[in-house]
């Protein structure tokens, strides 16, 4: 279970203070709702460790994780865009998620190739992100996130701006993940996404 207890954050030159207090059970999807500027991305960045809270706690299975650096937290983020390293090909982009120095075992390499096949990206391994469509890029990003096998997925508008087909593919992937016990936090504007994926909603 992921728990945020009285998590409090303030941007350096702003007077407004953000407060978050909720919990999500393992294998559930919490949809975070709110107009832009209400702190959805701030929340996800706090959980990921890209921002440091002023006070409060983040717990995963009753262990505090808010003092861990980003690379030791049990989470993976997928943003609306800029998820991939533009100068590296698709295979390397995914591989770096499995080992940060690309020291991959044969099984891991195989898993990447299989994952690409399953998501309809077979043979795209040597392409650069710039050569892919928006939907394909998001699939690559999500595939990396899934293969990392971290128990929490933080999704920041991952389907915004994609065409209906791409959305459907990504939704299916996410539903599979949820079914296998991954916890999701989804920030989304889209009513339909939330209806299909979310087990509970939280308004900011």
């Amino acid at each position: 279970m992921l728990e945020l207890r009285n998590l409090c954050f303030q941007y350096p030159d702003q007077s407004e203070e953000w407060r978050f207090h909720f919990s999500v059970a393992a294998g559930h999807c919490l949809a975070v709702r709110g107009a832009s500027g209400t702190g959805k991305s701030t929340l996800l960045n706090l959980v990921a460790g890209f921002l440091a809270p002023k006070s409060g706690e983040i717990l995963w299975n009753n262990q505090a994780i808010h003092n861990l650096p980003a690379w030791e937290r049990p989470v993976t983020s997928v943003f609306q865009e800029h998820n991939l390293f533009e100068h590296l090909d698709v295979f390397t982009n995914i591989g770096l998620g499995l080992h940060p120095g690309m020291k991959l075992s044969c099984e891991q390499k195989l898993a990447i190739e299989q994952g690409l096949e399953q998501t309809g990206l077979g043979g795209f391994g040597a392409r650069l992100p710039g050569e892919l469509s928006g939907g394909q890029r998001q699939r690559v990003a999500l595939l990396r996130a899934i293969l990392r096998r971290k128990p929490v997925l933080l999704l920041d508008e991952p389907m915004t701006g994609l065409d209906p087909d791409a959305r459907a593919i990504i939704r299916d992937l996410l539903l599979q993940e949820k079914a296998s016990g991954i916890t999701l936090i989804l920030a989304s504007h889209d009513e339909e996404d939330r209806k299909i994926l979310a087990d509970s909603n939280w308004n900011l």
Binding site: F50, A70, W71
Partner: protein, 560 residues
């Protein structure tokens, strides 16, 4: 796709935070220490003498006065040429040969002064092309290259293109909407200048002026070859003479101190007002917005750029045409190579370590400077980037010369020092090349890399190295080129019997072996061309990665 946590990974090599800060800090402190040692030796030697007494000397006052005077004139002339050229180039953003002209203008950064001087002599000297023409038309013109004329000419040859490139960059950074508004309003002439051009130029002008002033103020090779006599001597040359011929170390120390005070206070003024300007022009594409023309302007522009191109090309042409017969004569193995090849070896022996050192120091410096945290600690590595501007290489060389004089036994030790000082000299330029691409990585990408645990060595290997390959190659080329062309520091520490290429060229010029000098000049030029070609080839695209276009080496892609 199971949900269990993957096994904990071994941390990435060199991922402890100290690895980002410590090497840069140590290098910076070592360099600062070296400079302080040099300055200390200088002040110590100068301190034992009566400043006032020396100030009475007509000779010294004359030297200081001439140094400042020629530098001021050079700045004014360079800017007078650079301004219209930059504005014309900003106006004409597409014409055949534009990028070639820009390349030519960048050449002045790496072209060794002594080579350019030999070319200038070939055109404007006593037997130069233009002088011969002038002799036919105007028999008693009284033109002589030697003295103030030649010094100014050479300084303008070097600094007008440099200034024009920086000014052009400022003009091209004017946001396109503002140009569109100006176009719609039909602004031209004075109001175009007031509304668009001047606001873009004003912030960079002080920095450009200071840069050109420093370069001319500390110019050495040009004064050595084209100046002459006590009436056309600058501080640098006077220091050199005091050290190497008159063995008057006190006087050298005082001259170096004066130079330090003038250069230092100038840059202090520039930095205090936050008027930093970039030393190296970036390549950038401005959107074409057609502005209103007054009649006759088109012709004027073509003429201006034409004359400017000829002005830049002629000396190079002179080197090539005069040098070729010397390098490629009828006999199978011309005697010139007997001196040329050992000199090349010595030059490379000094220049390659200097270039490598400059790149490594710059990389560590940037890494340390980018580390968030203590601001004072971060400021230390940054200062190394500006040290060579504030403390001119010859001043530093003088200090170290005074310090090490008794111990400097063989020439090898001298070469190590020359290499070290040359490397230090190159750091600001290399930093400029690397800083942009290194800092171009956005916050989001860095966050992703952190989440994936791409730290330390892995971060360098997968995030920075693919993007920095070309800038690093370019920086290395700049570093090596600057050192290959160095004539000032080597003149202090080298021995005439074992010349480097620039020293050999100087000796040949001095003994009027003009054709051999042209051969050496061309050889050095070819060496530089080979160097840049080789390094840009090495830095080509690697499989699986897409190297970012380097700021200056890339062949001008329309889209970044």
């Amino acid at each position: 796709m199971a949900a269990n946590q993957s096994q904990p990974l071994r941390p990435a090599p060199f991922s402890a935070p100290a690895w980002q800060l410590a090497p840069g800090l140590i290098i910076a402190l070592a360099l600062i220490g070296l400079v302080l040692l040099g300055l200390g030796a200088l002040l110590h030697t100068a301190g034992t003498l009566e400043f006032e007494e020396l100030w009475q000397s007509r000779y010294l006052r004359g030297v200081v006065w001439f140094t400042v005077w020629q530098a001021v004139l050079s700045v004014i002339l360079s800017l007078l040429i650079a301004l219209p050229v930059a504005m014309t180039l900003a106006r004409l953003s597409h014409f055949p040969g534009r990028s070639l002209l820009l390349r030519l203008m960048e050449l002045s950064l790496v072209l060794p002064t002594i080579v350019a001087v030999s070319g200038i002599i070939g055109v404007y000297g006593r037997q130069g092309w233009l002088t011969s023409l002038l002799n036919d038309w105007l028999p008693d013109h009284g033109w002589s290259l030697y003295g103030l004329n030649g010094i100014l000419l050479a300084h303008v040859f070097f600094n007008a293109p440099l200034a024009a490139r920086i000014l052009l960059q400022a003009l091209e950074s004017v946001p396109a909407p503002r140009l569109r508004v100006a176009s719609q309003l039909g602004l031209s002439g004075w109001w175009l200048w007031r509304a668009v051009r001047w606001p873009a130029l004003r912030p960079v002008l002080p920095g450009v002026s200071a840069l050109v002033f420093t370069l001319c103020f500390t110019s050495f090779a040009i004064i050595m070859t084209l100046g002459g006599g006590p009436r056309a001597t600058t501080l640098e040359v006077a220091i050199y003479q005091a050290l190497r011929f008159e063995f008057d170390f006190g006087q050298a120390a005082i001259l170096a101190t004066i130079q330090l005070v003038i250069c230092g206070s100038l840059w202090w003024l520039v930095f205090r007002n936050r008027l930093e300007s970039s030393l190296l022009p970036d390549r950038r594409f401005a959107e074409t917005v057609s502005l209103k023309d007054s009649p006759g302007q088109g012709l004027g522009r073509v003429l201006l750029l034409g004359i400017f191109s000829v002005f830049l090309t002629l000396p190079l042409l002179a080197i090539a045409l005069r040098g070729l017969p010397a390098l490629w004569p009828a006999s199978p193995m011309p005697s010139i190579y007997g001196q040329l090849l050992p000199a090349t070896g010595r030059s490379l022996l000094i220049a390659v370590p200097a270039g490598l050192g400059a790149v490594v120091a710059s990389l560590f410096t940037l890494a340390a400077a980018n580390k968030p945290g203590n601001r004072i600690l971060a400021a230390i590595p940054v200062t190394t980037g500006y040290l060579p501007l504030i403390v001119p290489p010859l001043v530093l060389g003088t200090g170290l010369f005074l310090l090490l004089r008794p111990q400097l036994g063989n020439s090898a030790q001298g070469w190590v020092l020359v290499s070290l000082i040359n490397g230090l000299m190159a750091i600001p330029f290399v930093l400029q090349v690397l800083r942009g691409p290194l800092n171009a990585i956005d916050k989001n990408t860095l966050n992703q890399a952190s989440q994936l645990g791409i730290l330390g060595w892995y971060r360098w290997r997968w995030l920075h190295w693919p993007r920095l390959r070309r800038p690093i190659a370019l920086g290395l080329a700049y570093g090596i080129a600057l050192s290959l062309g160095d004539f000032g520091v080597i003149a202090l520490f080298g021995s005439p019997g074992q010349p480097t290429l620039p020293v050999l060229l100087y000796q040949q010029l001095g003994s009027y072996r003009i054709s051999e000098a042209a051969g050496t000049g061309l050889w050095l030029l070819l060496l530089l061309v080979t160097l840049f070609a080789l390094l840009s080839r090495v830095a080509r695209r690697a499989p699986g990665t897409n190297t970012e276009p380097a700021p200056a080496a890339a062949p001008e892609p329309r889209h970044a």
